[in-house]
Amino acid sequence: MDANKETTGTPDIAAFAAAFLKKETGADGVEIHSCKRLGGGAIQENLALDLNVTGGPWAGRHELVLRTDSPSSLAVSLGRAEEFAVLKAAFGAGVKVPEPLWLHRDAGELGKDFYLMRKAGGSAAARPLVRGDLTTDERDALLFELGGELAKLHTVRPPVASLDFLPLPDGTPAQSRVAEYRRLIDAIGRPQPTLEWALRWLELNAPASTETTLTHGDFRTGNYMVENKHLSAVLDWEFAGWSDPMEDLGWLCARCWRFGAWEHEVGGVGGTAALARGYASISGKPVDLSLLPYWEVMGIMRWAVIALMQAERHLSGEQPSLELALTGRMLPEIELDLIQEIQTIEKERARHA
């Protein structure tokens, strides 16, 4: 057997994808050299395909990623066909994403949709960015790039025909989120006084929204790729939607996504000044950072609800798992983040009153 041939992924999908590609590209043949499962993604399965196309306009060697559903999925995330449409819209807006190439809409042949995209270089690992060797200047340069990518994404505004499956917020994006999180907590059926306290605060302090744009919904350290100290691709678009652009910034900066480096507000990597400069360099207007603390609290709330839902998969017996069980015991940490961050905002407000 060829030493290059390594089929540690799912051979059925690889063979299916080869036949699919042959048809899509009008090739004479498609040979898969390797198929490896990529880490990350509790919801999606990502396979790295190294393949060779003979004949047709795509003739040559290609490194692609095939993204499909894994057995467990969250009800709040997009399906693969929808995610493909979002990825195309983001790519069209100039956001650094793995170029989306082909979508397979399943009609029973395989049992699930998938799409193929170019493989992006670099690594999405959070730890090297948070604890690693980046100098202050290198951190700032990376944050400037992150801000610019978000600003490009936020130029996409409704309506967009290819994204008509994304619901518009009911009321302002902030009010809409509060209602959504209450519904999700109610559906689980275990009362959460601390989360209710924070949700009431979020409701009473909801900003009057100025705009609604396409948002990534999971833009945080660990979901973007870095290659040679620079941003190479933004990944994981299954939570994209129409919302307040500040929600993406709040999630990126929320204390729960700093990987322990709380002193570095933006994803554990650095300060907000460079991020805001990068954003403004594309949007042409300054970021109103006074809105950021509110949206950081909203981000922590989002994480609390997701953690509850994950823990419930274990508690309900649907998917017994040590990791999901321990996620349930992480809730007090998230509750503490919520209370302390709200208290900080209130103290700051009282100081200026």
Binding site: R182, P191, Q192, P193, T194, E196, W197, L199, R200, W201, L204, G260, W262, L322, E323, A325, L326, R329, M330, P332, E333, E335, L336, I339, Q340, I342, Q343, E346
Partner: protein
């Protein structure tokens, strides 16, 4: 008569065996699961040994918010009521004070589930 060693002692020695004797022989891809198991044992150990801090924090919160109407069963019995009242805006006039009471209750739970996190947050 109490059986010895106690449950807490059993959890402690099981955790040490897992971390000191098994972990070094496990392939890297299984380290995460082993560390999670060690964490689960540590949480269980702390929960068994916990003082009545959480009970006190819950009692203080319920007494402050509901006075003599507060039931003796503690937070579990009243959590739904409190959640509903908060959502309905019944405590809007003193959200700050309720936040302080909730902070004490959350702190007590964190002492069991992750005391290191409390330290990082400047609480003990």
């Amino acid at each position: 008569m109490r059986s010895l060693p106690t449950a807490a002692e059993l959890l402690k020695i099981a955790r040490e065996g897992l971390l000191n004797e098994l972990l070094p022989h496990l392939p890297k891809e299984h380290h995460y699961t082993a560390l999670m198991a060690a964490n689960a044992l540590a949480i269980s150990m702390r929960e068994i040994q916990a003082d009545d801090g959480q009970h006190k924090a819950e009692a203080a919160l319920l007494h402050e918010l509901y006075g003599s109407a507060a039931p003796d069963e503690g937070m579990d019995a009243l959590a739904g009521h409190l959640a509903h009242d908060l959502r309905a805006g019944r405590f809007d006039a003193r959200l700050d004070a309720v936040g302080e009471l909730l902070l004490a209750e959350v702190t007590a739970r964190l002492r069991v589930s992750n005391p290191k996190y409390l330290k990082q947050a400047g609480l003990n």
